[in-house]
């Protein structure tokens, strides 16, 4: 079983990103579970979302204590939360940041694989606004292909096409692909 933990701030789309990964895996014939952690809801508050991907039905209904992958959507969270707590030593840390993986290693002291991407910059250039949740997914699947790019594209179309129209949906796919290209990996 593969367990993922997403760190973001309320309003940044962490929950949506987690669900997209889960639904892409479901489309590929896996069993999945995704759930956010709810607290006092206000925009900007730190929030977590979790994903489990398995070959058998997921029966666990407890929180994820030692994830295989941690995805940090908002880099300022690195300063106030211990995001690598419980992360498996041979696991993967994906961070939306202009910093290099080596700089993040210095900052977090995490010894496993680190992947960084400046998703905020990519999103600003394509959308003119910061939607960091999609670019981190591009970086994530470059560092570890837990789902295929094609499955993620399908999910983006499924979820966004009706809501925000074809043009913006295409832009979302563009941000994911560009993040995939620009992501840096160490370890």
């Amino acid at each position: 079983m593969l367990e993922l933990k997403f760190f973001g701030r309320a309003g940044q789309g962490g929950k949506t990103a987690a669900e997209m990964i889960a639904d892409s895996a479901l489309d590929e014939g896996k069993f999945t579970q995704s759930f956010p952690e709810y607290g006092p809801e206000r925009e900007g508050a730190p929030v977590k979302a979790f994903v489990r991907i398995n070959d058998k039905p997921v029966r666990l209904h407890c929180q994820i204590q030692s994830p295989d992958i941690v995805v940090v959507i908002d880099p300022t969270l690195l300063e106030c939360l211990n995001v690598t707590e419980g992360l498996k030593e041979n696991g993967l840390l994906v961070v939306n940041t202009p910093k290099t993986p080596k700089e993040i290693r210095e900052q977090t002291k995490f010894s496993g694989k680190i992947c960084t991407v400046d998703g905020t910059k990519i999103s600003r250039e394509i959308f003119g606004r910061n939607f960091p949740n999609m670019p981190v997914l591009g970086a994530l699947i470059k560092a570890k292909e837990i789902i295929r790019m094609k499955s993620l594209e399908n999910q983006i179309i499924c979820i966004f096409a009706k809501k925000i129209g074809e043009e913006k949906t295409k832009k979302n796919i563009e941000t994911v692909k560009r993040a995939y290209e620009e992501a840096q990996i160490d370890g």
């Binding site: 669900e19 889960a22 639904d23 995704s34 759930f35 709810y38 070959d55 029966r59 209904h61 407890c62």
Partner: protein, 398 residues
Amino acid sequence: MPKNKPKPVKGRDYDSMTGADAVAFGMRQINPDVVAAFPITPQTEIMERFSQFYADGIVDTEMILVESEHSAMSAVVGAAAAGARAMTATAANGLALMWEIVYIAASTRLPIVMNVVNRALSGPINIHCDHSDSMGCRDSGWIQIYSENGQEAYENTIFAVKFAEHPKVRLPVMVCQDGFITSHSVEPINFIHDDKVKQFIGKPKPEFSLLDVDNPITLGPLDLFDYYFEHKRQQIEGMENARKAFLDVAKEFEKTCGRRLQYFEEYSSKDADYVLVVMSSTAGTAKEVVDRLRKQGKKVGLIKPRLFRPFPYEEITKALEGKKAVAVMDRSASFGAQGGPLFLEISSAMLNSAKKPKLCNYIFGLGGRDTSMQDIEKVFEDLMNGKPKALNYLGVRG
């Protein structure tokens, strides 16, 4: 879910959704005559989704948005008394506010189905899962069915409609699932085809209707020391009948919809020496622990009650007799009692058994406190070491 991998994407009969969405999806298939709901918190996404079906004209339901949960229950009582198939949903303090009418719904023998997303009662204010809301009205005369995941919540909801309306039962049913843990967790849900649901539930056949002006009836009149007791006695009988009717309706459900419903699930428990009894989502986590300990050669098992009211005391006694030790886990407290509600139920069920195992109680997960695999492993270790206290608290400070 099927035991194997899900079918390929094309034409698949499952989709990912939250436990709340799954119940709303089931309600769409049931297409109730009347749904009443209080549209503000503590209402759950069940009603948000269902009202979308209503707004899109997908259901024929008359949807009544009321000013309080007390009124929501009153509205479905009125609708059911008129012979309509009526449903509602609530959680936590919403259920608490309904209280007065919850009792009246059962006493008036109205087959209402209500989904309860189990959440802690205030105070202090807490929005997360425990069973204090539905356990608070365990003696209200409602049938109670608990669900491990969204899949079970969905199936229990469809089952509940037919079960409530069974001519020998005619009692309201509460279908419970764990707040946030399953209500907001996205998992693959395997659907029953719309036609099969329709075929299974059939059309409501009310014995009486307030709208039948040629055969006028009186409901809920003054009933003092002359007949109140007899009416209560009949109500008790209705609940007793429900125990047997459950099996009949379950048989029909399996035949028509291909889904199996039991009083309780026995997971590796038949040859086990040490058994855990726990309801709802924690049972899923416990199954993983049972598998892990079984691999180490430890004879452990799990019993997950699905039907809590009426309680299948004879069957559960048989299932637990001869075990070395049994731990009952309760997600609510009964202040001043010898243990939580499930523990008290099982203790009294086993009172006269000659092969009574050592019984102990664990109160856990109040206010949504996470219950990890290690926590459950600790319970089994306590059992196997033979040293658990009668009443224990899992994962609490001090």
